[in-house]
Symmetry: C2
Subunit: 234 residues, 2 copies
């Protein structure tokens, strides 16, 4: 609802993360909604974690649901900002229709493993972001549209284009989308199923070198999956 310029004088231009009640509320909301879900989060907890007053939620966002939407938009914008440079690079590289297999594989690796996997699995914010997104994927609500349109659809589509080129199949063949989906699954499972993996391997934290471990497996799997055009199974 209301939206005004910051009144801080020490930082007149750059709007810092966490500045202003509105931003603090959104950031707190992402954490709490991610952890407890929409129904499990109380406005009192949300306000308290943000160091704000309870009444600030209806004031700034109209309602708790409005805050939820704002949080979804905030994540969508943040994810876009992280993914966009690579997405644009790969998109423009794909305009060249005579790329070699090796080059296509490199593009795929750059987009999905080096960028997407790293962003989703390990970036500082991603802990809460991912839970938020996974919840929306599972039970698509208002947030799903926001997130889907702004980033996910684009990454999904780009991944599918790469797969199609590599397997020499028309872009609209459903098998292409299914394959791209399966590859997304290989990445996202390390978020959604992390509890099971850590339990099995006796890990207590998902450290940087463990991410690299996972990334190298993903790279190899993708290379193998896309190693040759599809032949029909016997």
């Amino acid at each position: 609802m209301a939206r005004k310029a910051e009144t801080r004088t020490t930082l007149p231009i750059t709007i810092q993360r966490g500045d202003g009640t509105r931003n603090r509320l959104i950031e707190a909301a992402i954490d709490i909604f991610a952890a407890h879900g929409f129904d499990g989060a109380s406005t009192r907890d949300l306000a308290h974690k943000a160091g704000a007053n309870l009444a600030a939620i209806p004031y700034h966002f109209g309602s708790k649901a409005g805050l939820y939407r704002a949080a979804a938009q905030y994540i969508a914008d943040g994810l876009s900002a992280k993914m966009l440079p690579t997405v644009l690079e790969v998109e423009s590289a794909l305009e060249n229709n005579s790329l070699e297999r090796r080059e296509l594989l490199e593009l795929l690796d750059r987009l999905m493993v080096k960028k997407f996997a790293a962003t989703v699995l390990a970036s500082a914010e991603a802990d809460s972001w991912s839970y938020f997104i996974v919840r929306e994927q599972m039970r698509p609500g208002e947030g799903f549209e926001i997130l889907y349109r702004s980033v996910m659809a684009r990454v999904q589509r780009l991944c599918a284009r790469l797969v199609g080129r590599l397997l020499k199949m028309p872009e609209d063949d459903p098998r292409i989308s299914i394959r791209a989906m399966a590859m997304m699954g290989e990445i996202l499972i390390f978020r959604t199923g992390r509890a099971g993996l850590m339990k099995r391997l006796g890990w207590s934290r998902f450290t940087e070198d463990r991410l690299e471990h996972v990334q190298s497996v993903l790279s190899e799997n993708f290379q193998r999956i896309l190693s040759a055009p599809v032949r029909e199974r016997p």
Copy 2:
């Protein structure tokens, strides 16, 4: 809490699905908890959907949380019953240490694609079961322990053993577990990310032949991923 024999006289031996307030409550609970999460489900809705009285929940299960635990146990038992025959088959087949690659691949396909994927993605009950399980994976609570111990750990471990044999790596190498995990991800994404896939492909239902479509892609991917022992990447 209370647990007594059924009083119906028409079906004295077999306890039918849905018989008795207690069972109806559990079955309703799985649907509602899956759809709305623990906090989003109200005892009123739970009781109403089960055709039971509100007070039946504390009576039979002590509390709403008790009903939740019972639901987790019910799913664990049901999943076990579905998976166990195949799990035992594969486990006993693996006692033979000189299986050929082709035979190992067949076992993997039988366990993970024909059985696990089909169960998770398409069995009648699985719609609610999966959402329930995914929630627990994401935010491990009391239900996680129940589900993990009774089925998931066993399937995960068995899949890892197959992968280890195929890639000729020691069973306790973390790369084995990571690979097995990635494969699970390829399957589970068609549950957790189904909304995105259906949107992309313009599907409105996940039919039997679409499942087969997915299964054939999974089979092929797994075969490729495990096609040759791992060599270190440059």
